[in-house]
Amino acid sequence: MGTENKRAGIKGAFLNNIRKYTMLIALVGIWVIFTFLTEGIFISPRNLSNLFLQTVAVGIIAVGMTLVIVTRNIDLSVGSIAAFTGAVGAFLQVKLGWPAHSAILVALFSGLLIGVWHGFWIGYRLVPAFIVTLASMMIFRGAVMGITKGATIAPLSDMFKAIGQNYVAPNISMFIGITTVVAYIIFELTRRSKRVKYGFTVTPIFLELVKIILISAAVSAFFMILVHNRGIPYAVLLLMFLTLLFHFIAQNTVFGRQLYAIGGNPDAAALSGVNIKKRIMALYMVFGVLTAAAGIVLTARLNAATTSAGQGMELDVIAASVIGGTSLMGGEGTILGAVIGALIMASLDNGMSLMNTDITYQYVIKGLILLLAVWVDIATRKKS
């Protein structure tokens, strides 16, 4: 019985890991297919750099959306709010001549206030998030039209634009890349030694090293590609930073852990001392700021605030989150998964554009992939 259990444990862990990496494997598959179909253009450093840049806005919001969905909530208003906060920044900078950094700070702050508004209605007044954010979707789309007066606000100052369009110099990029890899290796090794000190069983050192080498190689390759093409885009650097930060928050902070408990079983969480109202409020506040940050990146990349910016974005974001393994039933989902989901969505857009696929098919294919991804997730989940 004992050995059987153990074997089941190993088999279970294996299945679990396969599931964890399904979407990563799917992403690589999509890249391989597009590389063949575009005769190598897709995999060129220039295109990949572009692809990463295209991922940023959806990626940043998907990071926060994952936590929102984990708590059994949703946010349909992110497209409107990204457009609104971007327009606020652009308006202050272009029309009122504010310096870019002040304009951006005010834009982020407006995102925070919107978060308070959502947190109040969802957390304290218990109106379903679907309705609250559907209302906001309309309200802030209207507000965007009000600010822009139906016209495009452009052009932005160089400093504002830089967030969406500029690159960290290649030699500094190189430095950042090397630092990241070294920091990662040190992190893994200290974690291991701490576990040994606590007397826990750890994975065999051989497997641990294989894992470290594989991940280091992948991260190095990622940085090499970017260094080859003018360096790391500022926006991509921002997404990387936010991904790591929120991965940490989700896994290792009281706040993050309690969000998962709220989504998994709100009654049990409340009885275990989790203040659900406060946590939902804090989550939507953080999410408001994240959405505003994405709005600024979006505006900076387009070098303009437009009335139609971010339309339909909420669907890409939710799709990214769900493709990344977030369960709409709550309690399950990972930040890294959501970013991979965002990369999958952006890869489909990018690849099909390179191939000049008719826009009709682009939507159809994206829709089918979303359906397929979630089905695969459910099917593999049942088995394990």
Binding site: V254, N265, V274
Partner: protein, 510 residues
């Protein structure tokens, strides 16, 4: 024709890595009440799921014969048509729909897709009559108590002309009186020719109603006996494979000093029009205080209201170690050292999707954190400590709690509250639906805590449990305490007297 209405022969069923059923043989005679007993995880529920085709033909090995004829059920519908009906532990009724709609659900009386409501009502009424339930069938099921809902579920099964009725722990959530009523109905059904397979942990009920008893242990059939050949002690020995010396390990405690007091506690919930009126309670250090009473007496509501998770209007004072404390929510209570393990572990206890580790640490996250960052190593250490201490059976602390048996789930909940290092531990029905072995382990854990000076309040509907482990017993009836006694003076009859509303000194006139 065979004398057996049901024969299950050589049933094997495996889950990844686990042999749930290993060559199980199970035969039931026509119109008998056949009890199926065993510890949690012995395979009782799995066997019944094989029979009712929740696990369809092909996912198990072995034969199922009904009236001597081999059956290969592909879906629960097939098994229903063959006359097998199962009443689950968790009731499978739609609370928002009416009793009629529930009874007819899945077998609607309709022509061309349009429901004939008059016929449906007649059918529902006839079915309710069979189980002796006198309620208006147009009422929503949510209006009924758990016991009555149980009867509706049985009525539903009967209306589908069930020949074999499987009852899985039907009395787990019922009060003594309701249980008795249910058992009588089952006896009546037997006289009408319905065969019953009865799964329970309450051995008293087994000896009350069963004709024959089959014991499962670790997925194997241990034995099938006529009731007259067994007694409680023998049966327990067959279930656990060893002689249990005493299920209730009585240890002498020396309570000293008042730890916790509730004074003039009054709570009202206008939604269900229920009141806890002017309740006073004192808990001493190192003491097990039992709160007995019938289901619905307000015991759960009393302790939930301390955490402000029940009731809307409350007044009264709470004193901890002589000082008044104000508890605004569960967080305050936990911080003050009061922990409450709820009666409903799936609803209020566990995050089922999460693993053992995360469930155990959930209420102590802030304790093992610096500036809100959780020390994951401390978390693992804590989880492993309680898994070992509470003897939770699991391959790893990363096992999802949804995959654990009831007894192990309950231990995870206990582990969560032990990790908060409580001064006062309130346990609401701590051993509901778990097997004898796990029960006595839980009693030992409680005794250990009390020896360390923790004050424990145990709410239990099992009289024997209250009598067996508590130092002092309070009895609640309709929202207030009607009796108090030391365990030396307590008897089942005395507790029952107060629980049913008796006042004054028991045995001294009325």
């Amino acid at each position: 024709m065979s004398e057996y209405v049901l024969e299950m022969q050589g049933i094997h069923k495996e889950f990844p890595g686990v042999k749930a059923l290993d060559d199980v043989t199970f035969s039931v005679k026509k119109a008998e009440i056949h009890a199926l007993v065993g510890e949690n995880g012995a395979g009782k529920s799995t066997l019944m799921k094989v029979l009712s085709a929740v696990y369809p033909f092909g996912t198990y090995r072995g034969n199922i014969l009904i009236d001597g004829e081999e059956k290969k059920f592909k879906s629960t519908r097939d098994s229903e048509q063959a006359g097998v009906a199962i009443i689950y532990q968790e009731l499978a009724l739609v609370r928002e729909l009416s009793i009629t709609e529930n009874i007819c659900l899945g077998s609607e009386i309709a022509s061309a897709g349009i429901i004939d409501w008059n016929e449906s009502f007649l059918k529902a009424q006839a079915a309710l009559k069979q189980v002796g339930l006198n309620v208006n069938p147009t009422f929503p099921v949510s209006y009924l108590g758990v016991g009555e809902q149980q009867l509706v579920a049985i009525a539903k099964a009967l209306s589908k002309e069930a020949k074999i009725l499987i009852l899985d722990e039907p009395t787990a959530a019922l009060s003594g009186e309701e249980s008795e009523k249910l058992l009588n109905i089952i006896k009546n059904l037997k006289e009408k020719g319905v065969t019953c397979i009865y799964i329970t942990h309450r051995l008293k009920e087994v000896f009350d109603i069963a004709d024959r008893i089959t014991i499962l242990r670790d997925g194997k059939t241990i034995a099938t006996h006529e009731k007259k050949d067994l007694d409680e002690k023998k049966l327990i020995a067959l279930m656990v494979g060893r002689e249990l010396v005493n299920v209730y390990p009585r240890r002498s405690h020396t309570p000293n000093g008042v730890l916790f007091e509730i004074k003039n506690w009054t709570v009202f919930d206008p939604d269900i029009n229920k009141t806890i009126a002017d309740v006073n309670l004192t808990l001493r250090k190192g003491e097990i205080l039992g709160i007995a009473g019938l289901v619905g007496a307000g015991r759960t509501e009393l302790v939930m209201s301390l955490f402000h998770t029940w009731g809307r209007i409350s007044s009264g004072k709470v004193y901890l170690e002589g000082k008044e404390v104000s508890l605004k929510d569960a967080k305050d209570a936990i911080a003050a050292g009061i922990s409450l393990a709820s009666e409903d572990r799936k609803r209020y206890g566990l995050v089922l999707l999460d693993d053992i580790k995360k469930n155990i640490s959930l209420a102590s996250l802030e304790k093992i954190s610096t500036i809100n960052v959780v020390n994951v190593n401390e978390e693992i250490k804590g989880a492993e400590q309680y898994v070992a201490q509470l003897k939770i059976k699991t391959p790893s602390i990363e096992q999802k709690t949804v995959n654990l048996s009831g007894g192990n789930q309950q231990k995870v909940v206990l582990g969560k509250w032990l990790m908060t290092k409580p001064k006062i531990l309130i346990l609401d029905e701590p051993t509901r639906g778990i097997d004898v072995g796990a029960k006595s382990e839980i009693y030992n854990i409680i005794n250990d805590l009390v020896e360390q000076g923790v004050g424990v309040i145990v709410i239990s509907s099992e009289l024997q449990e209250v009598l067996g482990i508590c130092d002092r017993i309070l009895v609640m009836h309709e929202g207030h305490f009607t009796g108090e006694m030391n365990f030396q003076d307590a008897t089942q009859e005395k507790i029952m007297y107060y629980a049913t509303g008796g006042t004054g000194e028991y045995g001294h006139g009325k």
